[in-house]
Symmetry: C2
């Protein structure tokens, strides 16, 4: 059996707002998915783990049934099934694109192998995923509705998965493919004087925290602040994190290749 | 949190030849899937676990790349991804039908939570599945391409899953939804004197073994003999098994309800 995992894995997140049309329910952004599959294929980074968000697939149904709030009423049970089904539909668009670009991708469904406790990963079976990496597969995970030992069920965000997997597997880098260029000194959509921060330390990130509060996108897993909160845990473990704009061509490719790219690098410092 | 698993679960297998057109690659039998989802919904059996086969989705690609033979060549890696993708496509047809019939179904992907050793389940994370059953969900599994600790990868058949889950979860009954009425004294497709056996013991099954060899359907997981071999393990654990023809209306419904139905009952005896 081949053992290729001599180097540390890279974890790439593709935001839900990048791969779906956030304004239209259950609408994949097939152009973006196709382009990103091409960039990932060309970059040939191995070992690689991919995590994607839910965008307009998971969030609206999850909110309608308050899946994130946990089990309170039997009527939510079917809502959980519908939320998860929607996420698997989005995932299948991503998988088809990756495999058609000759990437040996295999999805790993969080609801099949992980249980949370009050929304935090308490128990996650990683043996299949580790074996995939060793053989050269690209495991693909996504934010999912999962079973929870305290609340019955919960939403396990793609960002929590990114951070948790990066730590558990000793990743070298996290690449966050977002719908913005990176972290700004202020909200660039509301403040024209906002400037992109190309590099910052964990300490600087913490002091920036209050400035990036109030991200407006509806997101049951939290907005940009939530993302930073999760990623912080990985950075504390000395895993360099790069935020790039995955809606713009070649940003993800360059980040994967380790080339100079517009974005924000966050290091433990 | 609701605890509904006071009674032992029923495990229902839907054969790949029932839910796909075995002659046409990647073609679901949507009429059969829709009808069976309706029968399962009306029967309202709980707790229930569903397992389905691959039919014309998984088998042709799995054979082309010899996934069952294990890892021998890097070119198989993409073939594994394609095999698994095909199975998830079939599974999504099944899930959509179940959920549209108001069944709170959630798929549990074997490749995400199980590792085999030389083709036999060596390690399978069952916590998410057990929690699903307790909340009233219907977990749905399927024959899948999985990682293997000896061979790199392997095919984990739906029938091995049926038997293994039934034993691990202390199931009361297994219902095998096949494309034949049950077990015959000879091959009914080749021998007009073949008679349906309505009831037999494990000992009688063993003595029948040589007569049912030579099932002709192409099946990387073994034909009818393979199915009997797997089911035997559950029957040895005192789990009653009923084989019914799932291509015929109401057979699965009646079996689920415990009503009198054409088929073969096999008991430990």
């Amino acid at each position: 059996m081949v053992r290729r995992m001599s180097v540390k894995p890279t974890v790439l997140k593709l935001g839900g707002s990048v791969i779906t049309d956030k304004e239209k329910p259950l609408t994949p952004n097939l152009k973006a998915i196709e382009r990103l599959a091409g960039e990932i294929s060309r970059a040939k980074v191995s070992p690689l783990i991919l995590v994607h968000g839910g965008g307009s697939f998971g969030h609206p149904i999850a909110e309608r049934y308050d899946i994130a709030g946990g089990y309170a009423d039997p009527s939510q049970i079917l809502g959980f099934s519908q939320t998860h089904l929607a996420m698997t539909l989005l995932n299948s668009w991503v998988m088809e694109a990756l495999i058609s670009h000759n990437i040996a991708a295999v999805e790993v469904h969080p609801s099949s192998c992980a249980v949370t406790k009050a929304g935090r990963i308490a128990n996650m079976e990683l043996e299949p995923l580790k074996k995939m990496l060793k053989l050269g597969f690209v495991p693909v995970l996504y934010g999912d509705a999962v079973l929870d030992s305290e609340k019955g069920f919960a939403i396990l965000s793609g960002d929590q998965l990114v951070s948790s997997l990066a730590i558990a597997l000793g990743a070298s880098r996290i690449i966050m493919g977002a719908d913005v260029d990176g972290l700004y000194t202020a909200d660039p959509k509301a403040d024209s004087s906002a400037q992109l921060i190309s590099h910052l330390t964990l300490e600087e990130l913490k002091s920036l925290k209050h400035r990036i509060e109030g991200s407006k996108a509806t997101d049951v897993t939290g907005g940009m602040l939530g993302k930073m909160h999760e990623v912080k845990l990985a950075i504390e473990n000395d895993i360099e994190t790069v935020i790039v704009n995955a809606t713009k061509p070649l940003r993800v490719y360059k980040a994967l290749k380790g080339e100079k790219v517009t974005g924000t690098i966050i290091e433990k410092g």
